[in-house]
Amino acid sequence: MHDHPLDLIAAFADGSLSDEAEARALVESCPECREEYRTQTEVIGWLAATPTAEMTDLEKAALHRDLWTEFRRQPGKSPATPWWQRLAYVAAGLFVTVGLVSVLNNDTLNGGADSGANTTADGAFDAPTEETPFVAQGSDDGESAPEMTTETTAAATATTAAAGAGGEESFALPFAELAEEARANQADRALTEGTDRDVEACMARVALDEHVVVDEIDLDQIYLLVMPADPEAEPIVTFVVLPRCEIVYVG
């Protein structure tokens, strides 16, 4: 018996401990500590799988326009801009916006012709891990969270556009359909696939031992499509990437 050091376990779960030995030992030996670890890991996974919120191009244009209108009311501070010039700014903003949207759409169509599906899939899987510090566990490659940049925003927009406009088969968005299909296939495929020891060990490590691997998607890495073993359970889809053994998507 011990006082379960839950905050230590929680810090272990989000990878912020410099020395993990004690926490790791507790998670392995104590059911309560293990439960705390599972809880923290699970919530981190849910949140990490959430896409970054973005303004639309027009929302952004409106924000800039409204701000400069406001600034003009601030006495003596803002550089005075004549009304006709402001109008020109807004018009130019809209022009750029429309141009950007069409460029993105063109890129999408061009990209979709060859490796479009692959690129889209990569973007969709990797986006959550790249933009959050979440590393499920056991991985010490210490990927950091890069700052949100214009490039990432543009890439994300392009990915979304690709999925929306392409209409080709891709893994970017149709998670609902994937889940449906996975559930249908679950019964006959669950026990014949993913039984190899590495997969099982990984599933236990990311606390998905009551789940089954319903599909393996072989891209640049192997993505395991994981669902609850219980067919009555809500069909939450988790993607685990091998050999790193990290949860990259929950939804």
Binding site: D7, S16, P51, E54, T56, L63, L67, K77, A145
Partner: protein
């Protein structure tokens, strides 16, 4: 990534009324400011308002920036405080309507709104959290900021942020457990 010293210099130019400098500061931070506001307020229109108010405050207070933290940290702190004020001022009413600003013919609008949506059960659970816990979880686990940065933004010690994040996650798990886990 922006160079901290360069950003501080931008703020100095903002104080002297340099429009381009302010545009540059906005470009560097508007996405994350909006994202933070949306997660905290849970409403797109309010988040857009809060984003606007944040940058108005940044503009007004640019001269007070001391350079003790990164410009970004200073701005996100203003954003979080703006959201606190909004929450304090008005009881939250979930709004189904699209924000006024969105042009219905804007092809990117619907996608952006869809992709920004949290799963409804997560959003609801997040909204139930006490604001202190919610903000800590938003900054750390949704926005991916480091604990020291989140601490700076929230104006509390790192240990406090940590324990808020941990407890926030536990509360989320409790609320979501029945829906997602079983």
């Amino acid at each position: 990534m922006t160079v901290p010293g360069k950003e501080a210099e931008l703020l100095t130019r903002v104080v002297s009324g340099d429009r381009d400098a302010f545009d540059a500061v906005m470009r560097n931070h508007e996405d994350r400011v909006f994202s933070v506001c949306l997660r905290i307020l849970g409403d797109r229109e309010k988040a857009l308002d809060a984003t606007q108010e944040t940058f108005l405050t940044v503009f007004r207070k640019a001269g007070q920036f001391q350079g003790r933290s990164a410009v970004g940290t200073w701005i996100y702190r203003i954003a979080v405080n703006t959201c606190y004020d909004q929450l304090r001022r008005a009881k939250r009413r979930p709004s189904e309507s699209l924000p006024e600003h969105v042009d219905p013919s804007d092809p990117s609008a619907e996608e952006a709104i869809e992709s920004a949506a949290l799963r409804p059960e997560i959003e609801a659970a997040l909204a139930e959290l006490p604001p202190d816990f919610r903000n800590a979880v938003v900054l750390s686990d949704l926005e991916g900021l480091s604990l020291p940065e989140a601490a700076e933004i929230l104006g509390v010690p790192i240990g406090t942020v940590k324990s808020r994040v941990f407890r926030g996650r536990r509360l989320l798990a409790k609320q979501l457990g029945n829906q997602i886990d079983q």
